[in-house]
């Protein structure tokens, strides 16, 4: 029989016992819907995480430090290569060299120091770090009140929410509701802070340099001496960020951020300077670490290798992201298995329905054979019926699964809104999932039809026609 004829006959047979076949098809739909719901939750979560992580700048950043800094961590690569004493110093020429590597968009020093900030004459000690203009796209600043730095050397500062609470004396007791950022921002935005810091000055320090004055770079590198002078810098609060952009840094994360160029021009005395004091060959700054931004996450590994060859230690979140991917694969497999369970139950329904149909249509099968239907014709007809239920169930199931996802997503977002968190898409039904689900339902149905179809095909026409 030709396929259009098969389809036509199959659909008419399905219509004949409409209730039973509809129930079976609904069973398949529910199975497919649960599969779609589970897998789209997995996909949605993965997309959500990837989006978050890509925006956070974690995946395209390599942290570079000198081997002098990271010693005795027990890592194999640390023990190989030149001894810490002989390894390269992470200074300005090294930074420029790294920035010239292929696929590197920028390499900026990590300027990070603890100092005192005065607000309304009260001193607050905190960790400060410098941010380049490119950090603007970091999603930690999505929910920020105020604005990002307008230029790279503006005398401005962005506060992390917890520091803003500290300045206002509003640190909530543990477990109490946190004040919103907007609430904190109102009294602080536009206000001034005074930063007191130690400036590193080339010796001999006869004249009193002004703040913001660039470091002397006359090439007098023979002089390794410098002095330290106490300075003050007024900074205007331009933004309060809700999230912590440095959450990955753990204990060294900063709560106050300066524009990068401004921070560089201040020549703040850094902790590394003390460690280098005995070896310093010049008054040029030596960086404790450098952040390297790579064009896209796929190129991180190559850039890391190139920097390692230069004699530095690198760290990227790539390893972490690999294990994250592993976690998602496992999550996927689990969701898929749970989703498939319902479909397995549904497939037993198909077997049952078709075996019932054989009993009911025994005579009809006998007639078809008597007037010339071959075993293959009968078999194909039952396959077509199973397949039609599979495809119909698959289509209805995808729609159902999508609808379930939308409803749950809506519910979660209503909750998120009440918690003043921006809405997210936890549910994603990509096209491949739609196509895969329908094909999968079709195949499962065909497998379910295997036994009934071959049983129908083997039916003896003489026996089938004998009884009324």
């Amino acid at each position: 029989m030709k396929i259009p004829d098969l389809t036509e006959l199959a659909l008419r047979n399905l219509r004949e016992s409409l209730l039973r076949n509809s129930l079976t098809t609904i069973g398949i739909s529910v199975g497919v819907a649960s599969l779609v719901a589970m897998l789209s939750l997995g996909t949605g979560l993965q997309q959500l995480f990837s989006r978050r992580l890509a925006k956070s700048g974690l995946f395209d950043t390599v942290l570079v430090s000198s081997r002098r800094e990271l010693r005795g961590m027990g890592r194999e690569e640390e023990r190989k290569g030149p001894t810490p004493g002989e390894s390269r110093i992470l200074d300005e020429p090294a930074r420029l060299e790294i920035e010239r590597l292929p696929n590197v968009t920028e390499a900026y020093p990590d300027i990070r120091f603890v100092t005192e900030l005065r607000y309304e004459d009260k001193p607050h000690l905190t960790m400060i770090s410098a941010l380049p203009q490119s950090a603007k796209s970091n999603d930690a600043f999505d929910g920020m009140q105020g604005t990002f730095f307008s230029s790279d050397n503006e005398a401005a500062v962005i506060l992390q929410k917890s520091f803003a609470e500290e300045l206002l004396g509003k640190t909530p007791p543990l477990g109490a509701a946190e004040p919103s950022v907007a609430e904190l921002a109102k009294p602080l935005l536009g206000k001034e802070l005074t930063m007191r810091y130690a400036q590193r000055q080339a010796a001999p320090a006869t004249q009193t340099p002004l703040a913001n004055e660039p470091a002397p770079s006359d090439g007098s590198v023979t002089s390794a001496a410098y002095s330290v002078v106490s300075r003050e810098q007024k900074l205007r609060i331009v933004g309060i960020s809700d999230l912590d952009p440095e959450s990955m840094r753990g204990p060294t994360r900063a709560k106050v951020f300066l524009p990068l160029k401004l921070a560089e021009s201040l020549h703040v005395m850094l902790p590394t300077d003390l460690r280098e004091i005995s070896r310093a060959a010049s008054d040029q700054p030596v960086y404790s670490s450098i952040s390297v931004r790579v064009k896209n996450p796929a190129q991180v590994e190559g850039v890391e290798d190139a920097i390692k060859k230069m004699g530095f230690t690198t760290f990227s979140i790539l390893d972490a992201s690999n294990s994250l991917r592993q976690v998602f694969r496992v999550l996927y497999a689990f969701l898929g298995i749970f989703g498939s369970l319902a479909l397995t139950v549904a497939s037993i329904g198909i077997v049952n329905t078709l075996v019932m149909a054989i009993l009911e249509r025994r005579r009809e099968i006998g007639i078809m054979k008597a007037i010339g239907a071959s075993d293959a014709d009968v078999k194909k007809l039952f396959f077509a019926e199973a397949g039609a239920m599979g495809i119909l169930g698959g289509i209805v199931g995808v729609v159902l699964g999508w609808a379930i996802g939308q409803i749950i997503n809506l519910g979660i977002n209503i909750y998120l809104k009440s918690q003043s968190v921006p809405p997210e898409h936890f549910w994603a039904v990509p096209l491949w999932l739609v196509v895969f689900s329908i094909i999968f339902a079709f195949l499962v149905s065909l497998v379910s039809g295997l036994y009934p179809a071959s049983r129908a095909a083997k039916l003896d026409p003489v026996q089938a026609l004998r009884y009324e």
């Binding site: 078809m368 010339g372 239907a373």
Partner: protein
């Protein structure tokens, strides 16, 4: 055949030949010999009646000729095909193209209209849709059911259903028409109408007809030859003088 001098030369070819045909069933401990060494010949274009009481094995012989069943031993050769040697697939093809069947209980598919029922063998033969519809309409026209082709079998009388079954049996232009008690569920008037139609096909289309019946009167009225079976064995095979005379008379008229 000497008693039927009016037969044409084509009638001398053998359409069906069975030799020592046996069909045995095992039912628990007992062996049932439904067909037990039947040897017979039917010539092309002949109208033969298989007679016998119920359980005599006449339907079993018909099923063997129809290729619905396989012999336990012996052979049945139809139009030079040894049915015992054919595969299941080839037997299906044989049933589709060579044989047309009608049954006591009509055996139309209740969920289909008459037209769809009549078209069904054409679907198995993979005939194009447009041609299928023309052929089905013509066949229904021929049995006088053109007006009722959109009806389902349950909406029709027994006679009409059997006429539709005839139309279905003839749709693939088979050389052989096998009828298993075709009038068993009909009143005698309607039964006669159906058999008149069968005789018409037999004469006009030169179709070989084998009819199973237990009504001797009907056999005598329509069949050229009567074969009697009892307990699976052939007990008598004789020409029907009355039908032969009738045939000759009609032949004389034309």
């Amino acid at each position: 055949m000497t008693t039927a001098p009016a037969v044409s030369a084509a009638r001398d070819t053998v359409a069906i030949r069975s030799q020592n045909l046996c069909r045995h069933y095992r039912m628990g401990e007992t062996l049932i010999r439904a067909v037990d060494g039947v040897s017979l010949e039917v010539r092309a274009g002949e109208f033969v009646a298989l007679l016998g009481s119920s359980g005599s094995g006449k339907s079993s012989v018909l099923n063997l000729i129809a290729g619905l069943d396989r012999p336990t031993s012996g052979s049945v050769v139809v139009q030079e095909r040894d049915l015992a040697q054919l595969s299941r697939e080839e037997l299906a093809k044989y049933r589709l193209h060579v044989v047309g069947m009608v049954f006591q209980s009509f055996n139309l598919i209740p969920s289909m209209t008459l037209q769809e029922n009549v078209e069904l063998p054409l679907r198995f033969a993979e005939v194009d849709r447009s041609r299928r519809q023309t052929l089905a309409r013509d066949a229904l026209e021929r049995v006088g059911l053109r007006a009722r082709m959109e009806h389902r079998p349950s909406e029709l009388s027994g006679g009409e259903q059997q006429r539709a079954a005839l139309a279905r049996a003839l749709i693939n232009r088979p050389q052989l028409l096998l009828a298993d008690e075709p009038t068993g569920n009909l009143d005698s008037h309607t039964g006669t109408e159906i058999l008149d139609m069968v005789r018409e096909f037999n004469r006009e289309l030169g179709m070989t007809v084998v009819m199973v019946t237990h009504e001797r009167a009907l056999a005598e009225r329509y069949a050229e030859r009567m074969i009697f079976l009892a307990d699976g064995k052939l007990i008598d095979d004789r020409p029907n003088a009355a039908a032969a005379l009738d045939l000759r008379a009609e032949g004389g008229e034309s």
